[in-house]
Symmetry: C2
Subunit: 504 residues, 2 copies
């Protein structure tokens, strides 16, 4: 047993070094998105490649392999050590089964593919991107096979989904996504028949971006964001990244004509930040000290952004203060019109501009196309047509060009197939958690009205944040709600909210 | 010869990787000074230790040693390759002769020593710092011995001076510093007899720091600072750091009551930045792609800050614009009073607040004390007394407490003995270069008046910037001026400028 203890300690030390190197790489990437001078990109790529190489070597090397062998049936471990070994093994196998040549081939192809996508989108010319997309699909398929996914129609795609949402396959997702699609489409149809609740005060006047930023910082602080452990900065696309146990950073961008855009980005990324900042200190600097899946991560960001952030109760607490920041722009505007305006439903072609009702439909469309691409029942050349037909069917809109359709997202150009479902899963998980939270904390609406988030954070911290990667999504869900993945809580929430808002 | 070519290529590749890792570490350190959330320090130290360890391993390893052996008498190399091998060998030997245990001991002692210094300075209690200073001196002495410095009274100190100013020993420096001290003291005495040229507009009104920052950015741009390859940020203490060939960053800080403090920091750091940005692209990512010594670096920063930045001609170009930024504060102020105010001579106890005339005296004082400490003719316990006596002798001021005296600088607590002389050497080199530059470019005053810095940059670039570490300080100086180190040009400059200013 002394040997096992020694082997485990050694494995922890390798894991800690790997995580510190991963975090160092995250610093370099954060800097690249927020600070790097235009011409500094080339050297930065070299620096990153070296550090990521070292991180990889800490994970995949003969010593690690030997230690994992020694610990094969370690027995008598604490629950946390068992979780550590399981997750470490998972990371190890994933990394080990991809040869350095294959990883380099992927990186090269990704570089070319992203450049082609930028060009294709600029000129709305899918043909420029198509051969690269073919290549990225072929590589992703190979990767999934290297990991051992084979034998069923959904195997290659399941292997990719498993990267982002461990334990959840395409068939499981389809089982919840299809009824979700039907009910959302029906709701959307009813809403479309009603006159939209416009908010001219949100589209006419200019909102000074420095004042927007000042308000967002006050709001974040009010939500309990700890600026001794985090930062808010600007970048072209908002993101959250962990640079250390006490260093989780979020970014946003502001536009003077769209005062809610930057604001809801801040709340969304803040939700990701709370999750990462709430991980148990006992997991510090280990591979367990991360969110457990992209879907669970999105459940936290979308919960804060939409369920909390777009609720009437939340703005009872904050609207008076927001008006103090923008007295001219919001002169004569009441809480009700503000609440209606921020929840306006208006289907659009672009996912990132979608409202709460139509958002999941954008995701399901992508999920279905990805699934068929990897089943081999849809060819890349037929993708734009399939996309446009589905858009028309789900949202009643037809893209005038591919830039507004199939070419709008960066994900596929990076080979990130299987990533999109996380966004819709986040909506579903989020409401499953939220229903339970409200059972436990019946005072929640009143607490939101008085800007008191302590109980919410305590509950989320205790039940979700602190576990990090110790609990896989399905175990976490079962532990908290006693249920499996379901769209019902989300549908209950969204149907009630919008039936009331649109007086359906 | 094919083998030699291969060996050289391999050495270049190791060197490039080392430099990329050093730059990555510089990113992490820059972030620590400008961005890092308060509680993020602990993880950052771990990240840095790992990356610095990897950088060290790229330099010191059996392969490098073998390659250097193979290239011992390579012959038939280009001048640049010869320079590369010489500098690489120097770095290699320095690193190789310090055992990992010794390096760790130094790092540990430095951590404790710095903490003790912070505490000691806060309470103005030298006794708290003294044992740590003893330890740091002992370690520095050991280090110098490991590098092979022995046999003369100045050996240990010469070994330390050589880190920052290769090729220049204590006796060489004393030879120029002592006459410099005499002439500056005499000048200072004459000035003190005159009424000071005050500038109430610089000490009374508040200068909005955002406007200060805007002006500084315009000024930097006007000086030719390339923001596609660099940045200006805020930090507690101004510094310049190189994060990549196209990524050189400077920092400053602003105080509303001291409008010139941030401004001259920006010009000073800008001077360092120009140097690093002007290095020959052929040296990119190699150990040659850095300034050749701290003294030459300071020659560039102090040239821009003082010789150019505090000249009348320079402000003929910029003062009207500065007044547009601060019309109220500078209402009724003419160029002459502004010029006099920024060049006010007023000896103070604190080095970083010193004017152009007394600054070098602060440095010579430190040089003399360091030299005696390492000669063993001054004991740490007698240091505060020796400091205070010298302050009285050179500047006519006596510190009321050690916080205002011996405890004011961080350098010794970090073990950076031999660093101080760089500042004074910078003044001397700077004026040796400047005299030559003006011989070549007789139109310089007029060019400054019309904000035209192109010819100055061309001259400095061609003669200094581009060489990086290829030319050691003395070779660089000889190549440009045909002379050795001398205080005469600096004294000519300073005596003429202040004789005129104070009508002596």
């Amino acid at each position: 047993m002394a040997d096992k203890t020694k082997a485990l300690a050694k494995l922890h030390s390798l894991d800690t070094e790997r995580m510190h190197l991963e975090r160092a790489a995250a610093v370099l990437r954060w800097d690249q998105e927020t600070c790097l001078p235009a011409k500094g990109v080339e050297d930065r790529a070299e620096q990153l490649a070296l550090i990521e190489g070292f991180a990889h070597e800490k994970l995949v090397n003969p010593e690690t392999e030997g230690l994992l062998g020694e610990l094969e049936d370690a027995g008598d471990l604490s629950a946390q050590e068992e979780d550590f070994l399981r997750v470490f093994r998972r990371d190890f196998r994933r990394a080990q089964r991809l040869s350095p040549e294959f990883v380099r081939e992927c990186a090269r192809a990704e570089g070319l593919s992203q450049a082609a996508w930028v060009e294709a989108r600029k000129n709305s010319d899918f043909a420029v991107f198509a051969p690269h997309l073919e290549k990225m699909i072929a590589l992703a398929r190979k990767k999934s096979e290297y990991w051992g996914w084979a034998g069923t129609a959904d195997s290659p795609y399941d292997g990719l989904l498993d990267i982002y949402e461990p334990g959840l396959g395409a068939a499981d997702m389809a089982g919840v996504f299809y009824p979700l699609r039907e009910r959302l489409s029906a709701l959307l149809e009813k809403i479309s028949a009603k006159a939209p609740a416009l908010g001219a005060f949100l589209t006419g006047p200019q909102y000074d971006v420095q004042r927007q930023d000042a308000f967002c910082r006050e709001l974040l602080g009010g939500l309990g964001f700890d600026f001794t452990r985090s930062r808010l900065d600007l970048s072209a696309h908002p993101f959250t990244t962990t640079l250390g146990f006490n260093d989780v950073r979020i970014t946003t961008r502001y536009a003077a004509a769209e005062p809610l855009s930057g604001l809801f980005s801040v709340i969304h990324e803040g939700g990701h930040g709370f999750y990462e900042l709430g991980i148990d200190p006992a997991l510090r600097s280990s591979c367990l000290a991360e969110g457990t899946s992209m879907g669970i991560h999105e459940s936290q960001s979308r919960l804060w952004e939409n369920v909390i952030g777009r609720s009437r109760a939340f703005w009872e607490g904050w609207f008076p203060r927001f008006k103090e920041y923008f007295p001219q722009q919001l002169s004569g505007v009441g809480l009700d019109s503000f609440y209606r305006a921020m929840n306006r439903v208006s289907p659009s072609l672009i996912r990132v501009e979608a409202d709460e009702v139509s958002y999941s439909l954008h995701i399901i469309l992508r999920f279905e196309l990805e699934r068929r691409l990897f089943q081999g029942t849809l060819a890349v050349q037929d993708l734009p047509g399939a996309w446009n037909r589905a858009m028309e069917e789900y949202l009643g809109l037809r893209p005038a060009c591919d830039a507004q359709g199939i070419l709008q997202d960066v994900h596929w150009s990076m080979g990130a197939f299987g990533y999109f479902p996380s966004y819709a899963l986040g909506n579903l998980y989020g409401l499953q958690f939220w229903e339970k939270l409200r059972e436990c904390l019946p005072d929640t609406d009143a607490a939101l009205g008085r800007r008191d988030y302590a109980a919410i954070h305590r509950w989320l911290g205790e039940n979700i944040y602190r576990w990090g990667r110790r609990l896989e999504p399905s175990r976490l869900l079962l532990k908290i709600t006693g249920k499996e993945l379901s769209a019902e809580p989300f549908l209950r929430y969204i149907e009630r909210k919008y039936t009331e808002l649109y007086e359906l």
